[in-house]
Symmetry: C2
Subunit: 290 residues, 2 copies
């Protein structure tokens, strides 16, 4: 199968076959965008599932000789593990390989790839906005990226041919691709994604510290939706919080200031001020969602 | 129409015809649970909509002589306005009337109804867990309460006949009714509802303070669900926060402690501690949701 504008890969490799890597591999294979899809997954339980579901043509537990055939490698592992994984794949990769990723924090990996010994690797960072509280290969599914945003974060030395190749690959599986500076990306996502995740985890912990579990059945749809992201992967999110701490910590401070302002207006029974903050938040939220 | 176990009302009145009051009136009328439904709504824009949608048999802008015919009055107005509304309905109500409400905070109204001059009114508090970020009569709909929880908060002097009458009314429109002590109710809902609403408003305000609106289109489903309740009615929620401040303020403190702990473990790069908190929160949330 050949999709207009897209040049098929002969061999493509996915390292990490969870929700994102697994769904990506499924789409590539199903749509025939590569003749052969290699998968690498360290977790033996995950490997069992992947074998059953048959969404790669070759499955290894760690980088090996097969990897040298890959024209593109997608890293779909927790962001903190990049530093360990790059040296493990280096002995096997071809000089022409394109490496891309799907991490929620971009600058640390780009800095890593700018090290003198990695500088010749053709790398471009990517971030699909397609996460979920469900994770692992059992959550992987067809068309996960269809209609979802994908942000590429080229930097000054990125090869435009590489950027274009990766862009057209994502477009071929339905993603809406845009570009952003890596630094702006990490700052923005600290606000719109990492802070909300941290607050969702914190609020569930606060509620469970102060209420007995059996009364929680009384909670409604509000808490259910608000806290959905607190069911996300603790390993993945602890990595994201740690990798993006320079951006996240200032956002926590801004949040705390607002929370203190709200608390203060409640304590002082300052209804006017309270309504003003709530109205402003509602207006902003309604505007984003339209 | 006569639903088994339920004795129809001849006349029933709803004061405040927003999402909850409007949906309630629609169900009562549609299912014929009262021969006549009276509605009172102070907002002229709302009245226009209600006239069009025809979900009451009589519509007034303020309590009047008609109200004396009501066997049951449902108060569906913001909780802070109870104190103003009770004296306005008093001159018109029959001695036998049952008054109930749908407010998210129970103790202040129960204290109010225990005042010597109100003590003879047959009152029972209620709280349907059926809110939404949409409000006003345009959001009112059939079957809003079907399968939703409704909490009755009888107190020591509540007449069991009154409790039973109100219970069977809610059951007749599909609600799952349970009982709770008013004090426990207010403490629990400070955690599972009022705190999450406050945090959702605060986080949207924090994000909008630190990012330009045009970049927010990049946010994903996580933020959308997390912040849905920040689109709720500012008037209604400022009232709830103020009315339940005695319970809410301590919950804010517990939340802040957890947030500080998380922040601290990020600053100290204490991955183990961070994962432990996230895992605990995930476990709790997953358990509630099953």
């Amino acid at each position: 199968m050949h999709i207009s504008g897209f040049i098929n890969f002969r061999t493509l490799a996915v390292i990490g076959l969870g929700l994102i890597g697994g769904s990506f591999a499924r789409d590539i294979k199903r749509l025939g965008l590569a003749e052969r899809v290699l998968g690498y997954e360290i977790n033996p339980e995950y490997r069992k599932l992947i074998h059953k579901q048959n969404f790669v043509d070759y499955l290894g537990d760690k980088p090996d000789e097969e990897l040298s055939k890959a024209e593109l490698i997608l890293l779909a592992v927790p962001v903190k593990t990049f530093e360990e994984i790059i040296p493990k794949i280096l002995p096997y990769i071809s000089k022409k390989v394109i490496i891309t990723d799907v991490g929620s924090v971009k600058l640390p990996l780009i800095k890593l790839m700018n090290r003198p010994d990695y500088k010749n690797i053709r790398f471009i960072g990517g971030h699909p906005i397609a996460g979920s509280e469900y994770f692992g290969p059992s959550a992987a599914k067809d068309n996960l990226f269809a209609g979802k945003r994908l942000i590429l974060t080229p930097f000054i030395e990125s090869d435009p041919i590489v950027v274009e190749r990766v862009r057209s690959m994502w477009v071929s599986i339905g993603a809406i691709v845009s570009e952003m500076e890596p630094k702006s990306h990490d700052e923005l996502f600290a606000s719109v994604s990492h802070l909300p995740h941290l607050l969702a985890y914190a609020s569930i912990q606060a509620i469970s510290n102060s209420e007995s579990p059996d009364v929680l059945k009384h909670s409604g749809a509000g808490l259910k939706d608000f806290s959905r992201i607190a069911s996300s992967s603790p390993t993945m999110w602890s990595d994201i919080f740690l990798e993006n701490q320079n951006n996240l910590i200032p956002k926590i401070s801004i949040f705390k200031e607002i929370l203190n302002e709200l608390e203060d207006s409640i304590l002082k029974k300052d209804k006017e001020k309270l309504i003003k903050i709530l109205e402003n938040a509602k207006t902003e939220r309604d505007r984003w969602m339209t």
